[in-house]
């Protein structure tokens, strides 16, 4: 009896061990395949905003363009990038090298490049337009390149730079956006299912105050300085005459130049960019709203556009092309060009008939007053002579 039990026990144990090995194998297989699809996003978007105007804020435009350059290099196409630059530095008349924006001293790296598409420029960069882009509440005639057409499987990178303070970011020296408004906009995006995960980077003075009020899930935020600290600029170029970049974005650019689309660096490396020794300010980050562990989030999940490709062997049938029959009619009409300055015709042009408009309120009121005074003065018996 005990021998039987022992045998069945050993059988059971063997079965259990085999099951365990099988499960381990399955899990391992699941992990490698699962890792491929672990982030859960299918497309990437980027919204890059520079909020400062005037030539001495050259560095903010250079900041935004260097992030644009990295994001394009890592694979996000122009149609998925909304780039907002509040002023034009490249073709500014003070720029000694037109059509260029440099990030490094001695003009080493032109971040403006030859293939750039700016979606919102100049006076179009306002708080209202920024919030409309984020929430998607744009007028119907807005072109596609100016819209953020993200869905619930999109990872969005939002980068803001400019002058800021405790709880606000200044737009174009005339208005500001507060951290409460920004948090509410992100909550609107969450409720409309406009993002899967969101990475928010801000490079301004006291930048950490901007992400204090976030309350929507799946947001990770980085800032270049804590509350009470200023973000400093990196280096001036004596030929151009202004500071070229801000410190935090300069070291961020250096870090991103080492990333390629297949790289496996994760967010913990990004948090280490620009320590206090280099940046003078203390960069901060916030990950409590983010569901995944930052160590498992790849940089290319936000900065790159890694497409998942599914290969199929099915045959696809194409429809027949639409064939238009040849028109048999032969036009006998002869066309001609128009005289560009027909002097006699212009001189004898009849004046345009103005459309008749009914009299507006002022005229009606005036005539009513006149009639009332008339009939008050002279009595109502004159009324029958009028009507």
């Amino acid at each position: 009896m005990s021998a039987l039990l022992k045998r069945s026990c050993s059988h059971n144990m063997l079965a259990a061990i085999i099951m365990l090995i099988f499960i381990c194998f399955c899990v391992h297989f699941q992990n490698t395949a699962g890792q491929f699809f672990s982030s859960g996003h299918t497309n990437n978007w980027a919204v890059l905003v520079c909020t400062s105007r005037f030539w001495f804020n050259y560095r903010h435009v250079a900041n935004t363009l260097s992030v644009y350059r990295s994001v394009k290099r890592l694979g996000i196409p122009d149609s998925h990038i909304v780039l907002m630059l509040a002023d034009d530095m490249a073709c500014n008349h003070r720029n000694p090298k037109p059509a260029t924006v440099f990030s490094h001293r001695n003009m080493e790296l032109n971040v403006y490049g030859d293939d750039v598409e700016v979606d919102y420029r100049g006076y179009e960069v306002t708080v209202e337009n920024f919030l409309r882009v984020l929430t998607g509440r744009l007028p119907p005639s807005t072109p596609r390149s100016k819209r953020l057409l993200s869905d619930d499987r999109s990872n969005i990178l939002i980068y803001l730079t400019g002058h800021g303070g405790n709880g606000f970011l200044k737009f174009q020296d005339s208005e500001e956006i507060s951290n409460v408004e920004l948090a509410d906009a992100f909550e609107q995006m969450w409720q409309k299912r406009r993002y899967n995960e969101l990475l928010f980077i801000i490079d301004t003075c006291q930048g950490a105050s901007m992400y204090e009020r976030f309350y929507s899930p799946n947001i990770m935020a980085l800032a270049s300085s804590q509350v009470g600290e200023d973000s400093l600029s990196h280096q001036p170029d004596l030929a151009i005459g202004v500071h070229l970049m801000d410190r935090y974005t300069f070291y961020l650019l250096e870090f991103l130049e080492d990333i390629h689309p297949a790289s496996k660096s994760n967010m913990n490396d990004l948090f280490k960019v620009c320590p206090k020794s280099q940046c003078v300010s203390t960069p901060g980050h916030r990950t409590d709203l983010f569901l995944r562990d930052p160590g498992s989030v790849l940089i290319t999940d936000f900065f790159g556009s890694v497409r998942k490709v599914e290969i199929t062997m099915e045959a696809i049938h194409l429809t027949d092309p639409i064939l238009h029959p040849m028109s048999e009619e032969v036009q006998e009409k002869t066309y001609s060009y128009v005289d560009q300055l027909p002097v006699s015709e212009i001189i004898h042009q009849k004046p345009k008939q103005k459309d008749w408009h009914p009299p507006d309120g002022f005229i009606l009121g005036l005539w009513t007053l006149i009639l009332l005074v008339f009939f008050k003065t002279y009595g109502i018996k004159h009324l029958k002579h009028i009507f």
Binding site: A90, C91, A99, D114, Y335, L341
Partner: protein, 575 residues
């Protein structure tokens, strides 16, 4: 060989079917570069790219197959029922007195004028949507075009293409003088070309050199044109032109020697394979015996064309021939000056505009037009579109030529409506020979609401250029038939009579300062008021309501201990 039959019969049937079924029409693409050395040492280069397509955008079956014609523009034409579209982006001002007349004029900033088809019912709504769509295509802020800067000219801007009748209700014109042109506008413009910027003449279009110039202009013109001399059929023409003037000192480093490499930092290696003709024209009219400048590599091809009322001779380089590129497989034209003499052909029509007056309340706009022809007078049509915040007083309008009053034979004035539409003034003035005509009108500056100011209001506010359209007498007989053999740059404006040619001149835009409030005033007032209230009223309130009580000072430690012991003893305390 049953296999051969099986293969060849379908091919034969397919070819037959193609011949029977009308294709989408012929596509034709031509590219051209004209280089004209200027007397001041600068050099003027004009690129012209033309795509012709025989199709009908307005029929019910939508056009779906695009070959050379860009799809984005084709969809714009069919969706908004556009008959003609002309858009230009310019940086810099064309100096007529130093450079002569341009082949295709354009005002500083952005300019857009559109003729809609007769079938459009609501032209203003179509115009608004069209500007938004174009702002997305060209990455420009064209969405700022609205009713406050759109006008409907009544006699200027007649259609440049084929038309049955012109009803000016379908024309809209707007300019944005503030608009900046930079690489972000050039990039989508280059993407509209069939070869992109990869082959042909478009290879030379590098932004770092193009924007480091005195004048840069890129335009797109879409219109229906005649296909041949009889003009029984029409086709759609898309013309993209790029005009650039390189300065002797900034791009030329002071040396009077120009080459393609020096101008564009590139040389040419091949023509665009999709182009039916790809040519470079160098203007050598002033240099018949090579006494002023030398052109290398030499070319035997010479061509003559009547352009801007003058017969000019051009050396032609045909890029579709392999022999043009020589043994090095690349073409780098070199123009080297030998002497700096020679005078310039003075332009017959020239205009200037400026603001006179002082202070921030009133001012006067002066438009000055010069007729440099020795004995002929000709009519000009002046179009002025002034924003509503400069209130024009038309009763102060004066037109004087040679000191005497010159009454215009046609005036059309549409007054402005605050915040709704601008002033429109169109006048037909006859310019006497060899004279200066001055048009003056006084205005008053309005005060805007504080939210209507731009973020940088102290820069000033722009007033768009005036447009002067004129029929200038030409010294050479013009060709009234537009054929395919003419070079593109000479066949843009249609010619109806041989003795004069049509020209359009743009004046400078104006920059006026409006009375600007001090935007830091509310902040300052709040601080000052709160300080005064706190200090003044606060002290008064305290004085009136504060009551004083006498308080025992805190006893010293020794006294405290002594009092404590006395309390225990039951003895009266110390004071």
């Amino acid at each position: 060989y049953i296999l051969y039959i099986l293969i060849y019969i379908p091919i034969f049937v397919f070819v037959l079917l193609r011949k029977l079924i009308k294709e989408e029409g012929e596509n034709d693409f031509q590219e051209e570069l004209v280089i004209r050395p200027l007397h001041s040492g600068d050099i003027y280069a004009s690129f012209q790219f033309r795509t012709l397509w025989e199709t009908d955008f307005m029929r019910e079956n939508k056009v779906s197959h695009y070959r050379l014609f860009p799809k984005s523009l084709g969809q714009v034409i069919s969706k908004f029922s556009v008959r003609e579209l002309h858009i230009s982006f310019t940086q810099g001002y064309w100096r007529t007195m130093q450079w002569g007349q341009p082949f295709l004029p354009s005002p500083p900033g952005a300019e857009l004028w559109v003729w809609f088809q007769d079938s459009v019912t609501d032209v203003d709504a179509a115009w608004k949507e069209l500007t938004n769509v174009l702002s997305g295509i060209f990455c420009a802020s064209l969405n700022f075009i609205d009713s406050t800067n759109t006008v409907q000219p009544s006699a200027s801007f007649k259609p440049l293409g084929i038309v049955n009748e012109t009803d000016h209700r379908f024309l809209r014109y707007a300019t944005l003088p503030r608009e900046i042109v930079c690489t972000e506008n050039l990039t989508p413009w280059k993407k509209l070309l069939p070869c992109g910027s990869k082959a042909g003449l478009a290879v030379l279009l590098k932004s770092e050199k193009l924007f480091h110039s005195s004048f840069f202009s890129q335009t797109v013109h879409i219109r229906p044109v005649c296909q041949d001399r009889e003009c029984k059929t029409t086709s759609w023409e898309l013309r993209q032109t790029l005009n650039v003037v390189f300065d002797l000192h900034t791009s030329g480093q002071g040396k009077r020697e120009w080459s393609l490499f020096k101008m564009f930092s590139r040389t040419l290696t091949e023509a665009c394979p999709l182009a039916s003709s790809s040519k470079i024209y160098i203007d050598v009219t002033d240099n018949p015996q090579e006494e002023y400048f030398e052109l290398s590599p030499a070319t035997p091809l010479l061509s003559q064309a009547v352009v801007l009322g003058d017969r000019r001779t051009f050396s032609v380089y045909d890029l579709t021939q392999q022999v043009t590129f020589g043994t090095v497989r690349s073409l780098n034209l070199l123009i080297r000056w030998k002497s700096t003499e020679g005078d310039m052909l003075r332009p017959l029509l020239h205009a200037e505009r400026y603001v006179a007056g002082y202070g921030l309340q009133t001012g006067e706009i002066h438009t000055v037009m010069y007729n440099n022809h020795p004995f002929r007078s000709f009519p000009v049509l002046l179009l002025d579109s002034v924003p509503w915040y400069l209130r024009l007083y038309i009763h102060t309008l004066t037109v004087t030529s040679k000191g005497k009053d010159n009454t215009p034979s046609y005036i059309h004035y549409q007054p402005s409506k605050d915040r709704m539409r601008p002033h429109l003034l169109e006048m037909l003035v006859q310019l006497p020979p060899h004279s200066v005509t001055e048009v003056t009108v006084q205005f008053e500056r309005a005060l805007l609401k504080w939210t209507e100011y731009t973020p940088d209001p102290n820069h000033g506010f722009y007033v768009g250029s005036s447009v002067i359209s004129a029929l200038v007498p030409s010294s050479v007989a013009m060709d009234t038939n537009i054929t395919q053999e003419q070079p593109l740059f000479s066949s843009f404006f249609p010619c109806k009579e041989e003795s004069s040619y049509f020209v359009r001149v743009y004046t400078e835009p104006l920059l006026v300062n409006l009375p600007t409030p001090d935007f830091s005033m509310p902040y300052n007032v709040i601080c000052l008021t709160c300080t005064v209230v706190a200090v003044g009223y606060g002290s008064l309130y305290n004085l009136l309501t504060r009551s004083f009580q006498i308080e025992e000072p805190n006893p010293r430690l020794a006294k405290k201990i002594a009092n404590f012991i006395r309390r225990i003893r039951g003895v009266p305390l110390l004071s």
